[in-house]
């Protein structure tokens, strides 16, 4: 049963995400039509915000994995690094894509190169893409792991920077609606509930995703080790 835990997480997370989508599109109340250019498009937030939340969790795992490999030479740390990059890429792309859809409807443009939040988050996603593609292009070895772990460590600087970006420079991306303090934005309880279900579902899903990813990396390493033994190496 313990071997099935990742699949269980993935399944529960998937059902939760689908429920979030259903509730967000059909049950949650609409926003004020005066405050938004395109009020209906706002419903994509029930996808956008939880996926961004899950992306931050994945980038956090990437940071921890990179640090464990870089400073402790921990194979477990490298597996965390790989899982964090893959999950970060998946969630980052979901966030960027949904943000672009909303931006196109609300702002009239899917992207703004002068908005700090958009650019730093976009770069985080590109960093994850770079790490995934880069790792596939290189033979596994200490040189590869050291280089990509360094990128993982330094890249994490962007996470707090992205988080505070809208608090310092609010250019296009809206400011925080949760945890913004007394004078910040506020959400109706039903909206907050759907967002909460979304955040929980994405979190469970991404944990399952990373556990499976770590298992696959472990199997890849065992396969490579077995091949080396067949080649006559150590």
């Amino acid at each position: 049963m313990r071997r099935r835990i990742p699949e269980v997480f993935l399944g529960i997370g998937f059902i939760g995400i689908m429920s979030t989508l259903f509730l967000g599109l059909n049950w949650a109340p609409s926003v004020s039509i005066d405050a938004f250019e395109s009020p209906a498009a706002q419903r994509i937030f029930y996808w956008h915000v939880p996926s961004a939340w899950a992306a931050f969790i994945a980038f956090g795992v990437l940071f921890v994995g990179s640090a464990l490999w870089f400073f402790k030479r921990s194979p477990f740390g490298w597996r965390l690094h790989v899982a964090g990059t893959e999950a970060g890429l998946a969630c980052g792309l979901m966030t960027v894509w949904s943000g672009c859809v909303w931006g196109a409807a609300e702002w009239g443009t899917p992207w703004d190169w002068t908005d700090v939040r958009l650019n730093t988050f976009g770069l985080l996603t590109l960093l994850a893409l770079f790490l995934v593609l880069g790792r596939q292009s290189q033979p596994d070895g200490v040189e590869t792991r050291d280089t990509f772990s360094t990128f993982g460590l330094y890249g994490f600087v962007l996470v707090p920077f992205t988080y505070i970006a809208t608090r310092i420079w609010q250019i296009r991306h809206p400011g925080p609606v949760i945890g913004a303090g007394d004078d910040g934005g506020s959400l109706q309880s039903s909206m907050a509930l759907v967002l909460l279900i979304g955040a929980l579902s994405f979190t469970i899903f991404i944990i399952g995703h990373m556990m499976i990813s770590m298992r696959i990396t472990h199997l890849e390493q065992r396969l490579e080790h077995a091949q080396k033994r067949l080649d006559g190496g150590n």
Binding site: V116, N119, L127, L129, F130, E143, T144, T147, E224
Partner: protein, 403 residues
């Protein structure tokens, strides 16, 4: 007791997923010729490259002339005395002339000499002014070997020489010259670490080392080498700023210059400048230097040839880079852009364009150099990270439009 030229203290080096050297110790003193002769993959080249500061250490430290040059804590210092280095992959740029490369080696040693007799001994005198790219494989190897021996040939003080498979590709006369030079230089007090299986090189050894144990070997007396160098501090500014490489290869024009001109041309092809407002026009003017900067440092690009960058990295802390070329090209491209889009030369915009290209190039260079340690640095998708430069560029454009 002879002076210690090199000491490796309990070093551990990993390559790929394996530990190549584990707890390895080596002491090389004046008049030592240590020939490393283990089987393939035993770690001979790893020893040479570690001594040249090219590989990070997992454990231990390496000292040249008693001073730390690299250790497992990440400390990396320049060797206080010049040393000779011949990499297995030569480390030469095809666009340099033979004379240019050897003169650079002399300059790094703070000396000069008449190169002709040295070149003559290796049958290269007639190739002195030829580009390395025009030479045969064997001749290129001779240049690399001679460049490795030069710091010792120039100096009356003991120097360390690291040679990785120096005999590979050499003809009989060059091999005889190399053996003779090694014996003469050893007699003059210089120390060698040579990775080779070649019988001729093994005959030169005072210590044969198979990376586990070593055997001492007596050497007959030889005529000591008379140092041929004259102390002269020659500025390496032209080389370190990449000017010399860019002048001979025109790589800067080919990569960055043409990229900038193509962007200008493309913008002009479909857009009528008269119909646009000022911020957009400023953006168009500064787009050319920005794109030229994104093309990357042309000198770093050249340095990828035959691991020339590694050869430089062993000797200096900062690789040659297009430091002068970048702002000049940025100034020219922005000046041209301001004439085309704003109908008049704008010196302020040109200066900002120079800064844009220089800073962009600096960032791209930093990102590219950070992947040099990878097994296949050209295969990595490093340019995926460059969009981060668009935001500061856009902010510069916005600011410049207000001037």
């Amino acid at each position: 007791m002879p002076a210690s030229l090199l000491s490796l203290v309990d070093i551990e080096v990993r390559r790929g997923m394996g530990v190549v050297l584990n707890g390895f110790n080596l002491e090389v003193a004046s008049k030592d010729v240590v020939v490393l002769h283990g089987k393939n993959g035993a770690g001979k080249s790893t020893v040479i490259e570690s001594c040249a500061r090219l590989l990070p250490l997992e454990k231990g430290s390496i000292h040249h002339h008693g001073s730390l040059v690299v250790d497992s804590e990440g400390r990396r210092s320049l060797a206080k005395h010049p040393f000779g280095l011949t990499l297995q992959s030569n480390g030469l740029l095809g666009d340099e002339t033979v004379e240019n490369h050897l003169s650079t080696v002399c300059s790094l040693s703070g000396m000069k000499t008449d190169l002709l007799p040295l070149l003559d001994a290796y049958g290269l005198a007639h190739r002195r002014y030829d580009r390395i790219g025009q030479l045969s494989g064997g001749q290129v190897r001779k240049v690399a070997v001679l460049a490795g021996l030069l710091p010792a040939m120039l100096s009356p003080e003991p120097r360390l020489v690291l040679l990785d498979e120096p005999a590979t590709g050499l003809d009989e006369s060059a091999l005889a010259a190399l053996s003779l030079n090694i014996r003469q230089l050893r007699e003059a007090g210089h120390g060698f670490v040579i990775a080779s299986h070649h019988p001729e090189m093994m005959k030169c050894a005072t210590r044969l080392h198979n990376l586990e144990s070593e055997t001492l070997q007596e050497q007959p007396k030889a005529q000591p080498w008379q140092a041929v160098g004259v102390v002269e501090n020659i500025s390496l500014l032209s080389t370190r700023t990449g000017h010399r490489y860019l002048r001979s290869t025109r790589a800067g024009i080919a990569r960055n210059g043409l990229t900038g001109l193509l962007v200008l041309g493309a913008l002009l092809a479909f857009i009528d400048p008269v119909s646009l407002d000022k911020p957009l026009l400023v953006g168009f003017v500064l787009a050319a230097p920005f794109a030229a900067g994104l093309a990357g440092d042309p000198v770093v690009y050249l340095m990828r040839e035959q691991r020339a960058g590694d050869w430089w990295r062993a000797h200096v802390n900062r690789l040659p880079a297009a430091d002068f070329f970048a702002p000049i090209l940025g100034f020219i491209l922005s000046g041209l852009g301001s004439i085309l889009f704003l109908d008049a030369f704008n010196w302020k915009l040109s200066l900002i364009g120079a800064a844009v290209l220089w800073v962009t190039l600096l960032c791209v260079r930093f990102i590219e150099l950070s992947t040099l340690r990878l097994a296949r640095p050209n295969a990595v998708f490093i340019r995926l990270l460059l969009p981060i430069l668009i935001l500061p560029w856009a902010l510069v454009v916005e600011y410049t439009a207000t001037l």
